[in-house]
């Protein structure tokens, strides 16, 4: 029987990992991720989860350890945030290139310096090109659901890629909300037993981590790229199956009140909930505005995104990360380039805000809508506009 419970997102993720029946958990503590490994350690101690749990000596060790366990075909999970994630960087590429379906929950947090433990998306954006499947969650239920889904999709023989599940540090990780925990039988049906064909096995020797000389490296990387793009169909199938079993629907690109909208607010992660509130208010006033939640970041959902915005005039995009010296926040710049060759396309207005825990409230989203509309109307050469910077007059953009 499924049951309604009240959990913080960290514990919801731990529940999903338990129900997915992982074999190995390796983690190093870092705020705001600590509650996930601590809860898993308790589950192992209580006999509720039959897994080996190892409190390793750094995040680089955590990722390297699950690389080892994944190589022998064990279902493997780790979790981190911020500095921990960037310390893993070297090993992240090994996971995706070796095609190990490791699942990692990231409680998104800002990067040093200055030292800051609060939420933004700089940590995961620094890993954009590591070849992992990357999804974002808006609330605790989604944090649970995406973690389950990550095992289902990552381990699919047609995918075999590691998956990052992003949940906003503190805003989700430490906030308690009601959610539904499904029945274990349904979860077991959704995530079949995992069998890794190429597992290291003395009876059937395989060799992982070989040299790729210039005569083959190019082809290997191209095939990795194709495989990640091809995983899109299983990613969608995974969500379809999920909704068939559990009744909740997810898509790579999700829109809210977007029908007939001329302006869409675009967010990733928990701020989507605030944005939708603002959309409700504006719609009640008769304004043609909606919201677009970009759930899937890698592989990027080009078709769905283009389709969702084809009749829209303006996209007001919030980035929670800088791309220093670049064309604007990573999300807005990618959306722009996804649209560039389209015959008709909306005007993309980028904002960077919510950095290092700075609040982006309803008023700020209201401002984004109005400002983006104004820019579409009047035109602007600005690359993006930094939001809520003390001492900076609002409306001051950054030029290329």
């Amino acid at each position: 029987m499924s049951k309604r419970v009240v959990l913080e997102a960290s514990h919801a993720v731990a529940e999903a990992v338990r129900m997915a029946d992982v074999d190995i958990v390796a983690a190093y503590p870092i705020t705001p991720q600590t509650h996930i490994p601590e809860r898993l350690a308790e589950m192992v101690a209580d006999g509720d989860l039959d897994a080996a749990y190892v409190p390793v000596e750094s995040e680089h060790s955590a990722m390297s350890c699950v690389l080892g366990s994944a190589a022998v075909g064990a279902r493997s999970f780790t979790t981190t945030a911020s500095q921990g994630l960037v310390l893993m960087h070297e090993a992240l590429y090994i996971a995706s290139s070796h095609r190990y379906p490791i699942v990692m929950a990231i409680c998104n947090r800002a990067l040093s310096a200055p030292i800051n433990i609060w939420c933004d998306h700089s940590d995961v954006m620094a890993c954009r090109d590591t070849g992992w499947i990357q999804v974002f969650c808006q609330n605790n239920q989604e944090s649970f659901d995406m973690t389950l889904w990550a095992f289902r999709v990552g381990e699919d023989p047609d995918v075999m890629f590691p998956v990052m599940v992003n949940l906003d540090g503190f805003i989700l990780s430490h906030v308690t909300e009601p959610l539904i925990l499904p029945d274990q039988d349904d979860v077991s049906r959704f995530i079949p037993e995992y069998h890794y064909r190429l597992a290291l096995d003395p009876a059937k020797p395989t060799s992982h981590g070989c040299f790729g000389l210039p005569d083959i490296y190019t082809e290997v990387k191209y095939s990795q790229e194709l495989a990640l793009r091809k995983s899109r169909s299983v990613i969608d199938k995974g969500w379809k199956e999920f909704s068939n079993i559990f009744g909740r629907e997810y898509k790579a690109v999700e829109t809210y009140k977007a029908e007939g909208a001329s302006t869409l607010l675009v967010t990733m992660g928990s701020l989507g909930e605030t944005a939708k509130m603002v959309i409700d208010e504006r719609r009640a006033n008769g304004e043609a505005v909606g919201h677009l939640n970009l759930r899937l970041w890698r592989p990027f959902p080009f078709d769905e995104f283009r389709d969702a915005v084809k009749d829209v005039k303006t996209l007001a995009v919030l980035d929670r990360c800088y791309s220093f010296g670049g064309p604007g926040g990573p999300v807005a710049s990618e959306l722009r380039s996804a649209l560039y060759n389209q015959e008709t396309r909306p005007h993309v207005v980028g904002f960077i805000g919510g950095i290092g825990g700075r609040e982006v409230d309803a008023q700020a989203f209201g401002y984004m809508i109005d400002r983006a509309n104004e820019i579409t109307e009047k035109g602007s050469d600005d690359l993006y506009e930094p939001l809520l910077v003390r001492g900076l007059e609002s409306g001051t953009g950054v030029r290329g």
């Binding site: 503590p29 705020t31 601590e38 000596e57 750094s58 500095q83 030292i115």
Partner: protein, 274 residues
């Protein structure tokens, strides 16, 4: 007493950085006092000193003091310190680390700094747990202890940090506790004055987490524990292993002379010129 207060206040960044983050009863503040008195007692100027720390409750220490200070990333204090010492050999370079900082995520740097014998003073605040992140087991957590990350009892055996750095080649290794604040002060003074890689392991109570998980209890009880469970190296020499069971041996454990990295470097430059 007022004389003491004056001394500390000369070194605190009290107008900018307070209140501090430490819990009431935490030992790190006592170490801070001992460090300041040792530096002052050795007659160094503020500009002669650079304090470098990693991340953790212990990592906050330099932030409160009016020296050259650098608060780095978790585990890397010694590597930043190495760079500083190479570029500014005249500075007295002191790295402040937690047990996690120094012996888990930064453990590699600890043994290599000892092996290299670079002229840095490493102060390791060993509270036997990860304090800042909420009481998870660290590489010095006693075997079997229940912690936030080992609710079934810690399955791993702890490092003896002093032995570790001794084996890695550190020429000066000492251990003390914050209960023995005066002795600690003298040891720190000696370590800073000594050339080469010197390590002081400072046993310090994390009241909030270690106190809770170990069952030792309050700040006062943890201090009492330090008093009751430490033995000076001089006494320890005449004790049997059974008598030493569970005791923390304090004092100067190793004091040797070895040419430092800089001395070797100078020698090789000289030889090349000749």
């Amino acid at each position: 007493m007022t004389g003491q207060e004056h001394l500390i206040h000369r070194y605190l960044r009290s107008s900018k950085r307070f209140p501090h983050v430490w819990c009431p009863g935490c030992g790190i503040g006592i170490l801070l006092g001992a460090l300041v008195r040792a530096i002052d007692g050795n007659g160094y100027g503020k500009d002669d000193i650079v304090l470098i720390s990693g991340i953790g409750c212990s990592g906050r220490l330099p932030v409160y003091l009016d020296f050259n200070t650098l608060h780095t990333t978790h585990g890397r204090a010694l590597t930043f310190a190495t760079g500083i010492k190479l570029a500014k050999p005249k500075l007295k370079v002191i790295a402040i680390m937690g047990d996690g900082d120094a012996s888990s995520i930064g453990g590699n740097h600890l043994i290599h700094s000892a092996r290299r014998n670079i002229d840095i003073t490493a102060i390791i605040i060993n509270n036997q747990i990860y304090g800042m992140t909420g009481g998870q087991s660290s590489p010095t957590t006693p075997f079997g202890l229940h912690t936030a990350s080992s609710p079934f009892g810690h399955l791993e055996h702890p490092f003896d940090i002093a032995k570790l750095v001794e084996a890695a080649g550190a020429p000066f290794v000492a251990r003390s506790t914050v209960y023995h604040a005066r002795i600690l002060e003298r040891l720190i003074g000696t370590a800073i004055a000594k050339s080469g890689f010197s390590v002081i392991e400072v046993m310090s109570p994390c009241v909030t987490h270690f106190g809770k998980w170990s069952g030792i209890g309050s700040a006062v009880q943890m201090m009492q524990w330090q008093k009751d469970n430490t033995v000076s190296i001089e006494k320890a020499r005449n004790m049997t292993p059974t008598e030493l069971q569970g005791k923390v041996v304090t004092g100067v454990l190793i004091d040797a002379h070895k040419p430092t990295f800089h001395e070797e470097h100078a020698r090789i430059s000289r030889e090349m010129k000749d």
